[in-house]
């Protein structure tokens, strides 16, 4: 116990010693005064007084010991009594502990997610100084940056100590065996320095690497290094053939580095392969990107974004102002290209966490309601229990225990309950969080940093202590009415009145809380149903997509040879058993990657400046695409095999484009001009209108600013674009009878056709569609879980309190029945009592919900926050379950035998 007493002395010693010393000094001073009054010299009097007092230090130590020891002793006693009291009522203890474990467990689980995602700092040194940069267009806030603009930003800004660009890039690694697809990123020199990532081998890119014409180099991720090269230490200096270029490996970066800036559904004119969920395995210098247009064309960004580190002392707001100045200058220098754009700065953490913040905070709010309901339940349990203990308290008061001492005892008991419940809850949180994250992979950003750490433990302890004190105070509060004589005489029934009022209020409160949660859950469930029923504009069932990358030598062939190659590939796939139709595709893929072009119409006035032109999502597909995706044709026709290189160019637009630019007119026969690449313009006749396709996923499409869609046949592409297409294609395959074709089978067919061909990223379209509502599913599942928990706890609470009331009124009911009350009357009386609490709770809950639901309006889809059917249905469900919880004790009351009940007196 000595460590404990030392520990408690830390915070009790100061005051205690001062008091004891002051008391001693008073004594000595009084003695001195008296001796002086008796005629002694003051100095001698003081000496005598000290002498008579003896050793003050020893006395002080003894006093101190007495106090600290007895304090500790009394705590030990409280804990002992508390445990004994709980052990004497194991049913009560079990219910209370389980209730608390559920509440605290759920709360801690969500907090551990909030802690990992929102609160924990990013794993980079001074991560709060890192900013992501985008180019903001009128249509997108987070568009990509063109390389010339990036170079000017980097050179002209005054707020960043470093700025680096990055761009997702798929690579094909040749060499040992089958060529392999690798997810990679092209980055500027200094990219890793900004993030503070040190290579585990070799070095990172410097300025000399980051330009065309220098020796091609690459950095590997630790994962690739271990997987493919067996962690060979002599990897540095080795040459790897990547996309047909021999690159020297100069470094390996640790696998703990996993920067995942969401570049999924970001919007913006992207040309790149995206696959944002995958980890990068290889890095190349962006300055070695072998695309002359990339460096020359300021108006077309290539899916490139940037990060920067703020100079010491520069605030985020100052940096925003600085970059606005840079943007204005560039707009003045390059009118028509940069005039509608400006730099958009987002703190790195905010960018990574993205839309998860409001969702997590909402869930944390929801789960605190569950905890509150758990607290209310346990408070009610304790109140009911303290009735039976009135005599015990009264006796203890009578033998001289202070009221404070009894309150302390009550609090000790409730804190013990809460701590045991909290410990159990921590286990629930640990396994619950792991299970929840495994159930919805890739939904929560930074999932790897979620877990039990010191903060989560502290949170659990804090919440447990807090709840213990809150619900423990309820019975303690009632103790203020305690009247010893009365309690002893009347078995404590004299203050049942005030307590039953407290209990009624608590039932109303928990009913209201449960209603709020149920309404929230109802709204998220309706949202998910609306999303499930939302028409994506195509039929994903039975469709498989993947990407192919032919040998790099293909790009050196003639356009005719490239066309022939892809035609062959098409036929090979189409003749695979079980395949109904195949379409190669470039440009955008629904709910996948996106690719946009400026466009205008022949015969309509063309805006003077390029960046005032409207934008459309571009799909470059084969005639079979419509059949594969089952997109409804609204007017005219789709492509046929006759729309080839020799036929006049044609295009098909979607309904939303037709509605916006040809309201009430027939767009068929009109001519549309679109810039394919700066070098190539398409001038095509509109031959058909198809239904709109949800490019941005079920949840986001409606809110996205970009809807217009243009389809063009790949057969009509100009030669230089065909050469660019030699790098790879997307493939859409529909299986016979809506059965998704097997990727392995298709891959084997492809390898039989061309051994060096790489097929990668297979994904059933259905999975793409359901993946686009994963975060809504996550929110709904948790909300529904919490609401279910709330409903369960609240009904137990109602049941418990009503049972208690019936128990309290046994004699009264017995008298009533003896005087001729029918059992049905008794049943009605009890039900009415319960119904009054439930209805009041529901009314309060509806009012609270009306005030709270707007918080979740941004998370809803296809349903208003004040959706009447949800409110009505939820109220009815709660009412039904609440009344059922009342019915059981009411039925028991009805069966009371008046003879037995009255004899109990």
């Amino acid at each position: 116990m000595s460590w404990l007493s030392r520990f408690t002395s830390v915070f009790r010693t100061g005051n205690l010693n001062r008091e004891i010393e002051e008391e001693q000094q008073f004594h000595i001073a009084s003695r001195t005064d008296e001796l002086i009054a008796d005629g002694m010299e003051p100095a001698e009097a003081a000496r005598q007084a000290h002498l008579a007092f003896g050793n003050p230090t020893r006395a002080r130590e003894e006093s101190h010991e007495a106090k600290v020891f007895s304090w500790l002793e009394s705590i030990r006693q409280d804990i002992y009594y508390g445990l004994r009291a709980l052990a004497k009522a194991p049913g009560f203890a079990a219910i209370a502990i389980l209730t608390l474990a559920l509440g605290i467990g759920a709360d801690t689980a969500i907090f551990s997610v909030v802690n990992g995602v929102l609160l924990n700092p990013l794993p980079y040194p001074h991560a709060d100084r890192i900013v992501t940069l985008f180019d903001e267009y009128p249509q997108f806030k987070t568009g990509s940056i063109s390389y010339p603009n990036f170079l000017d930003w980097r050179q002209m800004n005054r707020s960043f100590s470093a700025m680096a660009a990055y761009r997702v890039q798929a690579h094909i690694l040749f060499g040992s065996g089958q060529p392999e697809h690798l997810q990679g990123e092209m980055i500027s020199a200094g990219f890793f320095d900004i993030l503070g990532v040190k290579p585990i081998l070799g070095r990172t890119f410097d300025k000399k690497d980051d330009r065309l014409g220098t020796a091609p180099v690459a950095i590997l991720s630790e994962g690739l290094w271990r997987r493919k090269f067996g962690a060979a230490p002599d990897i540095i200096g080795k040459r790897l053939v990547i996309d047909g270029v021999a690159r020297t490996v100069i470094g390996v970066v640790p696998s703990t580095f996993r920067l995942r800036i969401r570049n999924f559904q970001k919007g913006g004119p992207l040309n790149s392969f995206q696959g944002g969920a995958q980890l990068n395995e290889i890095y190349t210098p962006i300055g070695q990107f072998n695309q002359p247009q990339f460096y020359a064309d300021r108006s077309s960004p290539w899916g490139m974004d940037a990060i920067g580190r703020l100079k010491p002392g520069v605030t985020f707001v100052q940096a925003c102002g600085d970059m606005e100045r840079v943007s204005r200058q560039l707009a003045a220098t390059y009118p028509g290209i940069d005039s509608n754009q400006k730099a958009n700065l987002v703190p790195l953490k905010k960018e990574i966490v993205g839309d998860m913040r409001p969702v997590l905070l909402l869930l944390l709010g929801a789960v605190s309601f569950v905890l509150l309901i758990a607290c209310v339940n346990v408070a009610n349990l304790l109140l009911a229990r303290s009735t039976g203990r009135q005599r015990e308290f009264a006796i203890r008061l009578a033998v001289g225990a202070g009221r404070a001492r009894i309150v302390r005892q009550l609090l000790t008991e409730s804190i013990l309950l809460a701590l045991i419940g909290g410990g159990l809850g921590l286990l629930i949180a640990k396994f619950g969080t792991a299970a929840a994250l495994a159930a919805v992979p890739q939904t929560v950003p930074r999932a790897e940093s979620i877990g039990l750490d010191v903060y989560v433990l502290l949170f659990a302890v804090f919440v447990s202590l807090g709840t213990g004190i809150i619900f423990g105070l309820a019975p303690a509060w009632n103790l203020r009415h305690a009247n010893i004589g009365g309690a002893l005489k009347e078995s404590g029934r004299n203050f049942a009145g005030t307590r039953s009022r407290t209990q009624r209020v608590l039932v109303v409160v928990e009913t209201a809380l449960a209603l709020v949660l149920l309404i929230g859950a109802g709204l998220t469930i309706r949202t998910l149903f609306a999303l499930w029923n939302a028409d994506p504009g195509f039929d994903p069932r039975g469709v498989l997509t993947f990407s192919v990358a032919p040998q790099t030598s293909l790009a050196k062939e003639s356009p005719a040879a490239i066309r022939a190659f892809y035609q062959q590939l098409h036929h090979r796939l189409a003749s695979t058993p079980g395949v109904e139709a195949v379409s190669l595709s470039w440009g955008s893929t629904p709910i996948g990657r996106d690719n946009e072009s400026y466009f205008w119409f022949v015969g309509k006035r063309k805006p003077a400046q390029t960046d005032d032109l409207p934008m459309a999502i571009r799909y470059r597909v084969e005639p079979s695409y419509l059949k594969i995706m089952q997109i409804p044709l609204k007017r005219g026709r789709f492509f046929t095999s006759r729309d080839d290189k020799n036929a006049p160019p044609v295009a098909v637009i979607d309904e939303s484009l037709a509605k916006k630019y040809f309201p009430g007119q027939d767009p068929i026969g009109r001519y549309l001009v679109a810039n394919l690449y700066p070098s190539a313009q398409l001038n095509a006749k509109i031959v058909g209108v198809v239904a709109h396709v949800n490019q941005w996923g079920l949840a986001l499409d409606a809110a996205s600013p970009l809807h217009a869609q243009i389809y063009s046949p790949i057969a009509q592409f100009p030669d230089d674009l065909v050469r660019h297409d030699a790098g790879g294609a997307n493939v859409f395959v529909r299986g016979k009878g809506s059965r998704t074709p097997s990727f392995e089978l298709l891959e084997r067919r492809l390898h039989a056709f061309d051994r060096e061909l790489v097929a990668f990223d297979p994904m059933p379209m259905q999975q793409m569609v359901s993946g686009s509502i994963a975060s809504q599913r996550f929110t709904m599942s948790l909300f529904a879980l919490f609401a279910g928990l709330a409903l369960f706890l609240a009904s137990i609470g109602i049941y418990g309190v009503l049972s208690y009331f019936v128990g309290q009124r046994r004699q009264e009911i017995g008298v009533r029945m003896a005087l001729g009350a029918a059992p049905a009357t008794v049943l009605r009386m009890i039900l009415k009592d319960g119904a009054r609490m439930i209805f009041t709770g529901i009314a309060a809950g509806v009012i609270a919900s009306l005030g709270l639901v707007h918080l979740m309006s941004s998370m809803l889809f296809g349903v208003k926050p004040t959706d009447l059917p949800t409110f009505v249905l939820v109220a009815l469900v709660l009412c039904a379950i609440g009344l059922l919880a009342c019915y059981l004790p009411a039925r028991r009351a009805m069966r009371i035998d008046p003879v037995i009940a009255l004899r109990e007196e």
């Binding site: 008091e19 004891i20 002051e22 008391e23 001693q24 008073f26 004594h27 001073a29 009084s30 003695r31 005064d33 008579a52 007092f53 003896g54 050793n55 003050p56 020893r58 006395a59 003894e62 006093s63 010991e65 007495a66 106090k67 007895s70 304090w71 009394s74 033998v399 001289g400 225990a401 202070g402 001492r405």
Partner: protein, 109 residues
């Protein structure tokens, strides 16, 4: 030594009795009271009274609060509690029985 110990053991009883009869008193007052009424026979190191007082306080037999004396000093005033009264009754009775018994033994042995 033995004599002092036995007296030390009786301090709680004396304190309770004085407080029960005289009402709230500070430590110095208690010392003076014990000395005067025992005509200086029960005279110990004055400082040793305090640990005893503090132990009694923790046991809930007496309670204390700070007050200002007529000399304008802050003093800790002790007061007997209900539990203290009960203790006093029991202890006083026990003391009378034991001292009576000892007296009889001394007289008649």
């Amino acid at each position: 030594m033995a004599r002092q110990d036995s007296f030390q053991g009786s301090i709680p009883l004396l304190v309770l009795k004085i407080l029960a009869r005289r009402g709230p008193l500070h430590g110095y007052g208690l010392t003076t009271r014990i000395k005067q009424t025992s005509q200086d026979i029960l005279n110990v190191e004055e400082g040793s009274l305090y640990p005893a007082l503090h132990r009694m306080e923790e046991a809930g037999l007496i309670k204390a609060k700070w007050a200002i004396t007529e000399n304008n000093r802050r003093a800790r005033m002790y007061e007997i509690t209900r539990a203290g009264m009960k203790e006093l009754e029991g202890e006083e009775a026990r003391w009378r029985i034991i001292s009576g018994a000892i007296g009889r033994v001394l007289k008649e042995a």
